[in-house]
């Protein structure tokens, strides 16, 4: 009996790979411990929960960074847990990316929750779970893993979007996100099932008994790229992901949900959720769907062109800032699709360009959303451009950060967003997507108009003598440090792009 036990334990330790997902485990433990802290501490000390969450995440970020630099060589993809998870340089980068996102969201959430009569602990708890789910999502190499991680993220997001229970807007946004999210999950699932069924069919060549695994599927699809079920399945999977990244024609939920959700959650959706969708899309295009380039490149090209034009044109006439950020986010999804199409048509380094763009998008977006969180009144869904009249005069620091963030999003030369767009456009040029490139440049020109409309309102609007009611909170020293970091990083990446060594 003892020998059997010893044998079992030896086998267990030989295949013990839990350390590979240490950051995710730590995040989940931190999320649970927040609930314990809330239960154990007296009511007066509950404000500490946000602090525990923030410093806990800083610690996990350090663990993650140490793992990146001292861990095993991250050149090739490394299968773990019998092919459920694969780690590579890209996934390590994205883990740090998602941790940074959740750090900012926790911080902004603390500021938002100070003004709202809502529970605090659950907010931080859910943000941590979403971050852990996204980190697993980008590492998954198996469709079951992909689905479970995706749903962990999505279900937690339903609650976060509807978190402002005292506001009708937030609840409505939650319901809309719920219906659209569940619909996209069902479409994604149907695609997965078709692929599973056809790739597992023993009558066909290269069929696999493990046909939900990416590499087995890639082998099958490269032989059967004309099969109707394969094509339909791949299109349905891509459509399901297009819902998550908000590409036309699956963008209908974006403006309403972005407006209704609490501002920190909006920023989380805009940056982290979109980034997760793009990394999954990149992995699919390079992995299982690599043989389907002839089908996916034209389809994605049309989607990208319409997405860029729709997002920019709809944003021009928008007065509500949260909807404006949502619509301009659709346009950014269109630019990022350019990089994905370049990867699908054989320009491998475009993956680095997409990741670089995502990082500059993180810095720019969080700078803007942070300013919006400070400037928002008690009604979080109602943030108009006209509220920013004389903003820079009253709050010169916030005004400066806003200008740098918006400039980076618009792609103005000394800032990071410009370099990000440049890399993407060069990749598209090398892939021979000239028509698409023209549409993208037209889109950028349009976007400068509405981004600068906002900057003009904040800096040069002296036409009205009556001073509007001041609702903005003055940022403390710590807030200034964080915002300054975001602005400085945007500037640094613009002047010295090699600081982020993503490109060969």
């Amino acid at each position: 009996m003892n020998e059997i036990l010893a044998e079992f334990l030896r086998g267990y330790t030989a295949t013990n790979q839990w350390l590979a997902i240490l950051p995710e485990i730590l995040l989940a433990l931190l999320a649970l411990s927040l609930l314990a802290v809330e239960m154990a501490s007296p009511k007066a000390a509950r404000a500490q929960v946000g602090r525990v969450a923030f410093y806990g995440q800083l610690f996990i970020l350090a663990v993650c960074l140490i793992g990146c630099f001292t861990g095993p060589a991250t050149t090739g993809a490394e299968p773990l847990f019998s092919g459920m998870i694969e780690q590579s340089g890209t996934t390590q980068f994205m883990r740090v990316f998602f941790l940074l996102c959740s750090l900012f969201v926790s911080y902004l959430g603390g500021i938002y929750l100070e003004r709202q009569p809502l529970a605090r602990t659950e907010f931080h708890h859910l943000v941590l779970l979403v971050a852990a789910g996204m980190m697993l999502l980008v590492q998954s190499a198996h469709f079951v893993m992909l689905f479970v991680a995706l749903e962990t993220v999505t279900v937690a997001f339903y609650v976060l979007v509807a978190y402002g229970r005292n506001s009708v807007g937030s609840l409505e946004a939650g319901l809309k996100y719920l219906i659209m999210g569940a619909l996209s999950s069902a479409i994604l699932l149907f695609g997965i099932v078709l692929l599973y069924g056809v790739a597992g069919n023993p009558a066909l060549a290269a069929s696999s008994s493990d046909s939900l695994q990416y590499s087995a599927l890639a082998e099958f699809i490269s032989l059967h790229d004309g099969n109707l079920l394969v094509r339909l399945g791949a299109l349905l999977v891509v459509a399901g992901i297009c819902f998550k990244i908000g590409a036309v024609p699956f963008q209908i939920w974006v403006p309403d949900v972005y407006q209704g959700a609490p501002t920190p959650v909006t920023s989380f959706l805009a940056v982290a959720s979109k980034a997760a969708g793009f990394v999954v899309l990149l992995q699919l295009v390079q992995g299982p769907f690599a043989g389907l380039g002839a089908l996916l490149v034209p389809v994605l090209s049309i989607v990208a062109a319409v997405t860029i034009l729709f997002g920019n044109c709809a944003a021009v006439v928008q007065g509500n800032l949260k909807r404006l950020m949502g619509l301009s986010g659709i346009a950014h999804a269109g630019y990022l699709l350019l990089g994905v199409i370049a990867v699908a048509s054989g320009v491998a380094w475009a993956e680095g360009a997409v990741l670089f763009y995502l990082f500059t998008y993180l810095l720019g977006s969080f700078a803007v959303f942070a300013v919006m969180t400070f400037a928002a009144g008690t009604d979080d869904t109602d943030q108009q451009i006209s509220h920013y009249q004389d903003f820079a005069k009253e709050q010169p620091f916030l005004g400066g950060v806003l200008a740098i963030g918006l400039g980076s999003l618009a792609g103005i030369p000394p800032l990071g967003g410009f370099i990000g767009k440049l890399f993407l456009f060069i990749a598209a040029f090398q892939a021979g997507l000239y028509g698409l490139l023209g549409v993208a440049i037209l889109g950028v020109v349009i976007s400068i108009y509405y981004y600068f409309g906002w900057i003009r309102e904040a800096f040069f609007s002296h036409y009205n003598e009556t001073v509007p009611t001041k609702t903005a909170i003055l940022p403390s020293m710590r807030d200034r440090l964080l915002l300054g970091f975001l602005a400085a990083a945007s500037l640094l990446l613009g002047l010295y792009p090699a600081a982020l060594s993503l490109l060969p």
Binding site: L183, V193, L194, S211
Partner: protein, 101 residues
């Protein structure tokens, strides 16, 4: 006479289409919700059929994950619908238009 895989796929496809149309066309949130569940069950049916005819167990396993996730989704969804009903006294999507103005 044995039933072929195509029969199962046809039924699954019909169920999925009915669910999709229900989500797109119906006005009552609860009916939309039922349609979403119908789509997930269409997926489950196709999975089990493929699993049986391909002689692999992955499909059956996947069904359990889908059922669990669907239950979690319903729990959250009904909570949101109840909270919304308390505020607005309606669950019809064409009356839920406080945003987009």
């Amino acid at each position: 006479m044995t039933v072929g895989i195509n029969a199962f796929l046809l039924v699954a496809g019909w169920l999925f289409a009915i669910g999709l149309l229900g989500v797109l066309l119906r006005k009552n949130t609860l009916v939309i919700y039922m349609s979403l569940e119908l789509m997930l069950n269409a997926v489950n049916l196709a999975l089990v059929a493929f699993s049986r005819y391909n002689n692999t167990m992955d499909g059956n396993l996947f069904v359990f994950f889908i059922i669990t996730v669907a239950a979690a989704e319903v729990a959250v969804g009904l909570a949101i619908i109840v909270a919304l009903y308390r505020r607005r006294q309606t669950v019809l999507v064409n009356e839920l238009n406080s945003l987009s103005r």
